[in-house]
């Protein structure tokens, strides 16, 4: 019930107030949306959040694999190039579980942290790809640069989504409050990634080498987006298993 200050100068509001006070049924009350009780409803909303985030990551992964295959056809028709994927991804420093057991062995907080790290590590490189390709004039490059920009935005949105999920989980007491360090550690990565890429790659002077670096970057990103999606699914089924696992 809301109390409103009496304003004798305006008649309609006075009438409204009178009605409000007189008629109890007119008063507005908040009612819960779901009828399962507080905890049940919270879990329900968490599960919905997870679903949203997972869908988002799936879309992101789809975009990345599309772009990667297009790049493969366009720039590198011959597949017999030795060592073309010999470069390490700049995110390889982040320890990620590479099989199911390892992923299950990780604690929830750690898993969440890994996800956030990965997402944090990819925002800048993608925008770099976008910028470097935007200067070109061919249609494919402009198309790829738009895609790269789109993916960069998605990474950012996904990251904020996962952060919200983490907050909710912390709220519900499912994970501890040790995630605050993620953002700070993630900031260190871009510089390292850029430095590593600078070390690993020759100066992107020629078009071909630049394309190659883009291609490898996309290859890495495709893999990492799949990791993110898988980890999110595992996290969901660990935390809210009754909602579609």
């Amino acid at each position: 019930m809301s109390l409103r200050p009496l304003n004798l100068h305006s008649e309609p509001s006075v009438i409204f107030l009178v009605l409000l006070c007189l008629e109890p049924r007119v008063r507005v009350q908040s009612a819960p949306i779901c009828a399962q009780g507080y905890a049940g409803c919270q879990l329900r909303s968490l599960a919905d959040l997870f679903d949203r985030v997972i869908q988002h990551s799936a879309r992101m992964h789809g975009l990345s694999s599309d772009l990667h295959s297009e790049f493969e056809q366009y720039f590198l028709p011959s597949k017999n190039q030795i060592g073309r994927i010999n470069r390490k991804c700049h995110t390889s420093s982040i320890l990620t579980p590479n099989d199911k057991e390892n992923a299950q062995r990780l604690a929830r907080e750690e898993l969440t942290e890994v996800i956030l790290k990965l997402l944090a590590a990819w925002r800048d490189p993608l925008s770099q790809v976008h910028q470097s390709m935007a200067h070109r004039e061919d249609s494919f490059s402009s198309f790829s640069s738009n895609r790269a920009l789109e993916m960069s935005d998605m990474v950012h949105q996904l990251r904020s989504g996962v952060e919200k999920v983490a907050e909710k989980m912390q709220l519900l007491g499912m994970i501890s409050n040790s995630l605050s360090s993620v953002s700070s550690s993630a900031e260190a990565l871009p510089s390292s990634s850029s430095s590593s890429s600078a070390e690993a790659l020759p100066l992107p002077s020629s078009r071909g080498s630049r394309s190659r670096s883009h291609y490898e970057l996309l290859h890495c990103f495709r893999r990492d987006s799949d990791k993110v999606q898988s980890y999110l699914k595992m996290l969901k089924c660990r935390i809210v298993p009754e909602h579609g696992c």
Binding site: R87, N98, K100, L235, C245
Partner: protein, 612 residues
Amino acid sequence: MRVVTTMVATIHAQFLGVKKDFDMWRDAGVTLILSLIFADVLESARFSPPGKPKLTGCRSPEKETFTCWWEPGPDGGLPTSYSLYYRKDNSDTVYECPDYHTAGKNSCFFNKYETSIWVNYNITVMATNALGSSVSDPVDVDVVYIVQPHTPENVTAVVYTDDDDDPFLLARWEPPRKVDTHSGWITLVYELRVKLEKGDTWEEHFAGQQKQFNIFSPRSGEVYMVQVRCKPDHGFWSEWSPISYVKVPDYIHRERSMWILIAVISAFVFLIFTWTVKHNSVKRFLLPPVPRPKIRGFDTQLLKSGKSEEVLGGLVIQGFPPTSDYDDLLVECLEVYDEEQELVVDGKDLQEGCLKSKSRSDSDSGRGSCDSHTLLMEKCGGAKEGPPTVLNGKQGQAGRGPLEKSNSHGHRLDAAESPDETNGSLSTVFSSQQQSHKPSSHSIPEIPRQCRVPGNHCPSTHQHDYKESLADAACLGKPLAGYRCMQAYSDHNIHKIGHKREATFQTSKSTGYVEVQKVEQENMLIVNPIAKEVRDLYHPEPTGQDYSKVNDVVNDNVLLLQREIAAKNQVAGNPTENCPHQQAGKPAIHTAVPLHYEVCLASNGYVTQPQK
């Protein structure tokens, strides 16, 4: 080398010149040389290092293990061994396949401890034999993208009936055994396909992540075949599961049975409706009769039979022209034939008309109008021809003259001759203003119908049309056959009676019966015009003042008129009496009319000719 040595040995032997031993040596050497050559040749054709094997593919059924297969190349004739080597993720460490047997021949199986996801495997196969080895082209594999699960398991399809609703097919299945979907490691999507056992095409349905599917409205009594397959997020579709059969029991769609019920009930209602309401009205409503041209009384069948008379007879409308009380409106045509004095005929046309012949059979009931001048004449003419009128058998009396008069209409009397009193000539007759004089033949049953005449309605209406009021042979009208033509008198001379006096008496427009006022000079009647309502001429026993009955015929030339009411006329004459069956009439004879010829007074008061 050996060849050379042998040759050298041979030459040496030759040089040594051993005579008798040389042949032996020579044979042995040749054999040796030949065998060596042969062996050498053979050897170079059969053995070689192995050809390049080829990796055909790698698959992982559950994203935890995977298997790779290869194709051996030509093996070079020697036993060849294959070995698979791989490198992980750009490291330089080369590992060899741990398991060559689990997955069959020419395969390599990686168990879950050796399998890493999101790691790039660089795999090669090497074939080795005694002569050499060869390495296949390398293949990069990331396990995530080579997942192809097994088929879904426990695929069941049943017919599910939910209370009274229509049944539907419910298909259920489970994920393949090894795939771990509970932990979220793999997310599977399913696809189902259905086919009628008799049909040819499969109907595919995408089921998403659910493990059951409904197929609604299956055909009753049919057998269905169901198959399911699955696929991970990014991977390959599995094979189709083995077929599951399901038989649908016989049933009728609820909706269809409802419609059948509605149709039956409405048909029933409709039937009741058509029977309760009259047949005809419904029939008329649904199929209104198409108006067709039809002549009433015209029977086409009869026409076809050729009897035209009967057909035409049917066309005659009985009772047309409409008559009312003009039954007795028969105006008798009194033809007075005066030998001495020709009656003046009024109007030439009349005369002409009389000469016209008239067709006898006139079946047109609509013909003729009172007003027609010519018609009148025609009638006259026709009459002259001698229509078969029947005058109660009195036809043949031409000689006598026309008289006949009948009605004892006071006004008319024409006496033909009055031997006694008159001079033998009777002047006239005048007309009774009655235009429509119709020679009445009260007893004329058959009369040529043509004589229609100024017919019945004439008296009432169109009198002015006729100047010659008198008679003419006008027919008249009415009754019975409807057209009586008084031309009954045709046998006799029918004259138009002139209008000598007409003007005098044409004051009134009514059917003018004229009252006889008095008789002068024994052969003249003076009459008074009477404007009264039309009287029915054909009335055997007229009542009323204006009519006079002839009571008695005296002296053969006098009519005794009988007046029951106060009589105005007084006529003197010599009635003649010649009739055998004359009966004494009623008393009170007030008038007498001189007659010129024999007449008979019939019992009913009418004057007739005596029967001789």
